[in-house]
Amino acid sequence: MTEHDPQPGRLDPVAEHLADPGQRLDIARLGVWLFLSTEVLFFGVLFVGFTLYRRSYPAEFVAASGHLNLWLGGFNTLVLLTSSLFVALAVLGADHGDRRSSTRYLMATLTLGLVFLAIKAFEWHQEYQEHLVPGLNFNLPDTDAGWAAHEQLFFCLYFIMTGVHAFHMVAGSGVLAWLILRGWRGRGPLSQTESIRIESTALYWHFVDIVWVFLLPLLYLTGFG
């Protein structure tokens, strides 16, 4: 389990000149946490922008939020939270070097991730049909131009925020797929390198999950209470 990957260097993200396995794990962890902190700032700007405009146009934002499908949003949240459970179980399996178990849990994670994306795509399609996509076909009949512009602002931020989130999900899904392929192709217990990769990916997946947990109330539950 703690053996050095027999093929150092090919796709090894951590410097191969570091022989000490503890050091390699340490370095990978610090790297991933730093990367996630940049993502916090990246999403943070969008959250700040949304909050500021929500304060400026409370009525319009409440009305706009009402167009969203809370059932689908809520169900998607359950899907994503469960996928996080599976990826955590994959890490547990990887800790024990259990190739089969961790790979299977990664597959479950990926499956739920794809379910999430499918539901999101369906939601967007619904919103498209209701003429709620700014820049494409946004149109609110029987509303005056000023009000409509502010509801459009909500939807602009909605699509940008869920779009950026979905992009991160797609990237994460791609990495999961690659890990699963390597998991199946390899033999014997997981190497330390593979274990580091699974843990790093799991951290990233958890982060994307947490972002969604904040997005849901902000976008879907505006105006409740």
């Binding site: 009525a59 005056d144 131009a145 000023g146 009000w147």
Partner: protein, 335 residues
């Protein structure tokens, strides 16, 4: 061009400008002092301690920590002093108790439109009277511009969608350039105007020349009727809309619990972004006039609303649609 003609310092056309110059010179003195001191120390070290010299190099016995703290605290004290001076001058631009003359300025690519309350309009030229405090109320029709008069040492970014103010009291006659200081497109460098500070006599003469136009408030009154505002904002109208008489300057309770002052920005937003400030007790049903009114027209409407005195205060106020039946009742005292 002789050396004497090279200007190094702009003319000062207000007391504030002169004060800013003193502060600037103070900063120059501090900076020159620091630069001279450091230059001396460095040159001294280079000359005395260059590689070939036999000067004594035994390390000096000083408390380094104390030295570090000294040259940390001393600059902080000096900086705090400069900060305080600069801040007080900055916050002090409009003296309390003054009633400045308000003039509207609208920036647009690539000119300055000046609208006086008496209805006079100019572009790229602003006439003011010597010694009279002025407050410019400014907005932009398109991108961000910046109204800059070096002779007054003042500048204010002019932002679309909001009113900003710039106050000054001129104390020197003459013509001074107005520049646009915020890059705004192709002809940014050509958006140059003239501030003409005139004696009261000359100003009166300038006023006398030319046909007196409708005052801004009168222009606003015409718009009020033409654009249909009177349809709702009239006593007795079918739609429940706020009364505008005496509104300007009052505190308005909003539907979401906030209180705002009904100033120029408030009136501007009510017309163009009505859902931003819905007054308490009213439905958010006012249509937005965004795109239907130019900023120059909004200014006229603001001046008109400003001119509407509360019903009891001035019976001879401008007529707002039909006479108010309540007002009529107050006129006839009870027997």
């Amino acid at each position: 061009m002789t050396l004497a003609q090279i200007p190094l310092f702009p003319v000062s056309a207000s007391e504030h400008a002169t004060q800013v110059d003193y502060l600037f010179l103070g900063l120059m003195a501090v900076s020159a002092g620091v630069v001279l001191l450091l230059t001396f120390l460095i040159l001294f070290s280079i000359m005395r301690y260059h590689a070939g010299s036999a000067a004594d190099r035994t390390p000096p016995r000083i408390n380094t920590r104390r030295l570090e703290i000294t040259w940390t605290v001393l600059p902080m004290i000096i900086f705090t002093g400069i900060f305080a001076w600069g801040t007080s001058l900055f916050l002090d631009r409009e003296k309390p108790g003054e009633t400045p003359k308000e003039i509207y300025v609208i920036g647009r690519q690539w000119m300055w439109e000046i609208r006086y309350p008496d209805g006079r309009r100019e572009h790229d030229r602003l006439h003011v009277t010597l010694g009279e405090p002025v407050r410019l109320i400014m907005t932009s029709e398109d991108v961000i511009h910046s109204f800059f008069v070096p002779a007054l040492r003042v500048k204010q970014d002019v932002v679309p969608g909001r009113y900003v103010t710039l106050s000054f009291t001129p104390n020197r006659c003459g013509e001074y350039p107005i520049y646009c200081a915020q890059y705004c497109g192709t002809a940014h460098a050509e958006m140059v105007g003239v501030l003409d500070i005139m004696t009261p006599v000359d100003y009166a003469a300038w006023l006398a020349g030319g046909v007196p136009p409708d005052s801004l408030a009168a222009q606003g009154r015409a718009l009020f009727a033409e654009k249909g505002c009177a349809g709702c904002h009239t006593p007795g109208a079918a739609v429940h809309a706020p009364r505008l008489e005496g509104l300007f300057g009052k505190q308005v309770p909003l539907a979401d619990g906030r209180f705002v002052t009904a100033d120029a920005q408030y009136i501007h937003d009510c017309i163009l972004l009505p859902h931003r400030n819905v007054p308490a007790g009213y439905e958010p049903i006012m249509p937005s006039y965004q795109g239907q009114l130019r900023e120059t027209e909004v200014i006229a409407l603001v001046e008109y609303v400003k001119s509407l005195r509360p019903p009891a205060a001035d019976m001879r106020g401008p007529e707002v649609g039909r006479p108010d039946p309540e007002m009529k009742q107050k006129e006839t005292p009870a027997p």
